[in-house]
């Protein structure tokens, strides 16, 4: 009995270790037919509220299909799919990351743009630094926080700076809009450059200021089915919902623009 | 100028007063837990009593009485502690250890090393001055510790069983060394060994349960012990009771006849002690009669070798012992648990007031 228990413990440990390699994130990709099983959607973090609403409508129309989400940075999601994470649908916050998935030959269908997003200025409630326009962001002494050029929101900010010829000097270049918003909400920063939809999501905690120069860098959101999905029909149906009239309405309500 | 200390520690039921004359060495002895180390700790400034005071050469070391509250830290007392273990600073060489006190007193490094070298020479450790404590034997390390303590030129040297941790060969060597360096130096030495008291101290103080129970010149205390502990040190039988016309009556009713050492007539009924050596005690199977003898029944508790004799220890409150020859032991067939009679001549029993 005792040696057996010892052996079992060792085997369990080894199994747990080696199992990590093959089981991936542990989301079962079980469903075989289009009207049953699980549909796993990997989506950019900024799509959280809209996609959850879309999923409710989708499940109402397709009873038996259970939609599951993984929301994260687009770049992270591409890396996870490349490493074998079981995704059926991927929705990115910019075309560049989707291109990375295409280059890896991991898309089942051609990506379709379903929404756009533009930058806006987020300021703490009351706007203590009295920011009114894009040019105000270049004011000396103003603590501006933006995204780093390596991530989509930073790339957009950089594009606007180039087009307007007005270079900005942020005190911090963050990895994500969440980090930018965090610094604006806590009052550490006087202003932050984030997406219009992020300001909508943040609610009362920040104030948003639109600026016309943002038209120079419109971010396009593409969606595609992932190569090898066992739920091709369900995946296509979900993409159709997101790109259709219903999807546009939900997205527009959240502040997204038309593609 | 004398040194004096009085201190009370309520938690430990400690209440001691002690004075040490210049150049005097006092041995402090007593059972474990009697408060010997507490006494040194209080003097050195490592243990704060509830009340009391201490003065050294007219300087107040501490005064803790109601209103006044003075407490000099250890480094301003001029009392150096030498412990059972050498406690040499392991990262410093023997020379640097010996130079520690002068350096701490602000003596320039070169001068401090010179002083340290002289003290190392005085303890015959000059050859090993460059060694680290880890490279010294226990006896060598303790000698360096002595040099380090003396280099501080203390007003009062406190020695806490300095020989207890040494092996049988290095202890006599260090004892001789201590005798040399303690001569004419004021010191208090805590020890378990009567030999230390005899060789090193002018006076012995017996501490028991936080009180001084006996004090006096070493020879006197050992010769006429008034406490069971002191009697144990000199290896004599010791009975306390009340004085009678011819001896001492123990609380259990037994009367020990003896002779009064002191000519001064003492009132009967006062507290007294009867003292006699185990060698004066004979063992019989029957009560012995005839004058003037003491004969009392005892139960043999155990037998142990004692020199070329066998020491017979009796059970019971008086903790009496008798020394008999191995031959007599065999003839009497002595074994633990046996009922026998201890017999001692009155002339061998010293009786004096407690």
């Amino acid at each position: 009995m005792k040696p057996l228990a010892k052996a079992a413990a060792v085997v369990l440990l080894l199994a747990a270790l080696t199992g990590c390699g093959s089981a991936g994130t542990g989301v079962p990709a079980s469903g075989k037919n289009d009207d049953g099983g699980t549909l796993t959607v990997f989506a950019a973090a900024s799509l959280r509220s809209t996609f959850i609403e879309l999923a409710e409508r989708f499940e109402a129309k397709h009873p038996g299909v259970d939609v599951r989400f993984s929301f994260a940075g687009s770049s992270d999601l591409v890396s996870q799919i490349s490493q074998g994470a079981p995704a059926d649908v991927f929705a990115a916050a910019d075309t560049a990351t989707m291109t990375r998935l295409q280059d890896a030959q991991l898309t089942e269908s051609a990506p379709v743009a379903f929404a756009t997003n533009t930058l806006a200025i987020a300021v703490p409630p009351g706007n203590p630094a009295e920011v009114q326009s894009y040019s105000d962001l270049a004011r000396p002494g103003l603590k501006l926080v933006a995204c780093a050029a390596q991530v989509p929101c930073g790339a957009a900010a950089k594009k606007i700076a180039t087009e307007t010829g007005m270079a900005l000097a942020p005190v911090s270049e963050e990895n994500s809009v969440t980090d930018v918003l965090g610094k604006v909400i806590s009052g550490e920063a006087d202003a932050g450059l984030v997406y219009a939809t992020d300001i909508r999501t943040a609610g009362e905690k920040v104030e948003g200021i639109d600026f016309p120069e943002s038209a120079g860098a419109v971010n396009s959101y593409p969606i595609a089915a992932v190569k090898g999905t066992p739920n091709k029909a369900a995946a296509d149906a979900f993409i159709a919902l997101a790109t259709g009239a219903q999807g546009r309405q939900v997205l527009a309500d959240a502040g997204f623009g038309q593609p | 100028m004398t040194f004096s200390v009085e201190a009370k520690i309520r938690d430990r039921d400690f209440d001691v007063q002690l004075a040490v004359a210049p150049g005097e060495t006092v041995a402090v002895m007593g059972p474990n837990g009697a408060g010997k180390s507490s006494l040194l700790g209080v003097i050195a400034g490592l243990l704060k009593p509830d009340s009391g005071s201490a003065e050294s050469n007219g300087r107040t070391l501490f005064r803790l009485d109601g209103g006044t509250h003075r407490w000099e830290p250890p480094h301003r007392r001029g009392t150096v502690l030498l412990a059972q273990e050498p406690l040499l600073f392991p990262h410093l060489s023997a020379l640097e250890n010996a130079a520690f006190a002068p350096r701490s007193a602000g003596v320039p490094a070169a001068k401090a090393r010179e002083v340290a070298g002289q003290w190392l020479a005085a303890v015959d450790m000059a050859d090993l001055a460059g060694r680290k404590p880890g490279e010294l034997s226990g006896g060598q390390a303790q000698r360096v510790a002595v040099a380090r303590a003396l280099a501080a030129d203390p007003d009062l040297l406190l020695l806490d069983e300095p020989l207890a941790a040494l092996d049988i060969t290095s202890a006599p060597l260090l004892r001789r060394l201590l005798k040399k360096v303690l001569a004419g130096r004021r010191a208090i030495i805590v020890t378990h060994d009567v030999l230390d008291a005899l060789m090193l101290a002018d006076r012995v103080v017996i501490l028991d349960a936080g009180r001084i129970v006996e004090a006096g010149p070493v020879r006197e205390v050992l010769g006429q012990p008034r406490s069971r502990f002191a009697a144990g040190l000199s290896g004599v039988n010791f009975v306390t009771g009340t004085l009678t016309t011819s001896g001492v009556r123990a609380p259990d009713g037994f009367e020990f006849h003896g002779h009064q050492d002191l000519a001064a007539a003492t009132e009967t009924g006062a507290d007294g002690v009867a003292v006699f050596p185990p060698s004066a005690v004979s063992v019989f199977l029957e009560p012995a009669h005839g004058s003037p003898r003491n004969s009392f029944p005892v139960t043999v508790a155990h037998l142990e070798p004692h020199g070329d004799q066998i020491r017979v220890r009796a059970a019971g409150g008086h903790q009496l012992a008798a020394d008999v020859t191995p031959q007599a032991t065999a003839e009497l067939g002595l074994v633990p648990g046996m009922r026998v009679y201890f017999v001692v001549k009155a002339g061998a029993v010293s009786v004096y007031p407690a």
Binding site: V10, V171, S172, S186 | A44, H75, V80, L81, S104
Partner: protein, 270 residues
Amino acid sequence: MSAIRAARNAGYTGIPRWVLAVAVVAAALIVLPLVAIIARVDWPRFLPLVTSPESLDALGLSLRTSTASTFLCLVLGVPLALVLARSQFRGQRLLRALVLLPLVLPPVVGGLALLYTFGRQGLLGSTLSVLGIQIAFSTAAVVIAQTFVALPFLVVSLEGALRTAGSRYEAVAATLGARPWTVLRRVTLPLVLPGLASGAVLSFARSLGEFGATLTFAGSLQGVTRTLPLEIYLQREADPDAAVALSLVLLLVAVTVVAIAYRSPQRGAA
């Protein structure tokens, strides 16, 4: 593998065989990911990637801030460890527990806590800004964040060393006439030097790896607040190869520091 051979050569080890097996699994759990990251390095591009201005700025900043925070840990941590190890006061146990908190606190929580302390609207921030000191988004913020997470390592290892050393040497030194400062300088600190050194090394290593609190509290700007871990995190978004290359650099720096410190811990008495 050599560990197994050494154990066999030594004859009897007293370790049940299954324990050995689990130990191998445990070691593999730590070693394998390191091997994996080395295997993923894009060697032809390695040198250009790690010598780019961004990478060099991040590495330089990491080394500077970690050195500064280790120094700060020593200056602040030694007195704290002494007080915890050598004195007795009410609330001491509570204080010790609180000091250890950054060890178990998620770094982001630490960053938020620092933000609400030193930030513009924080407890001390408004006072500091009156004095003209702005900490947020500065290199000083990085050093504070690193010190916050690294200080417990120094305090814990030093307090342990102090307790092991005991206070008997200090008592002897005091009776020999050494003032408290002399005792500390010439006896206490030399005695606990190995513990102090390993504590400092752990603090440096922890500072080098600090990420969450820095990101939350200090921000991320090249050459100012973007340390090596933040640079790796950022590069991962754009160029995973660069992130892998920089991870290896961070790994090498950490290994070097630890190796140097553990090789000669007894050296250099104060």
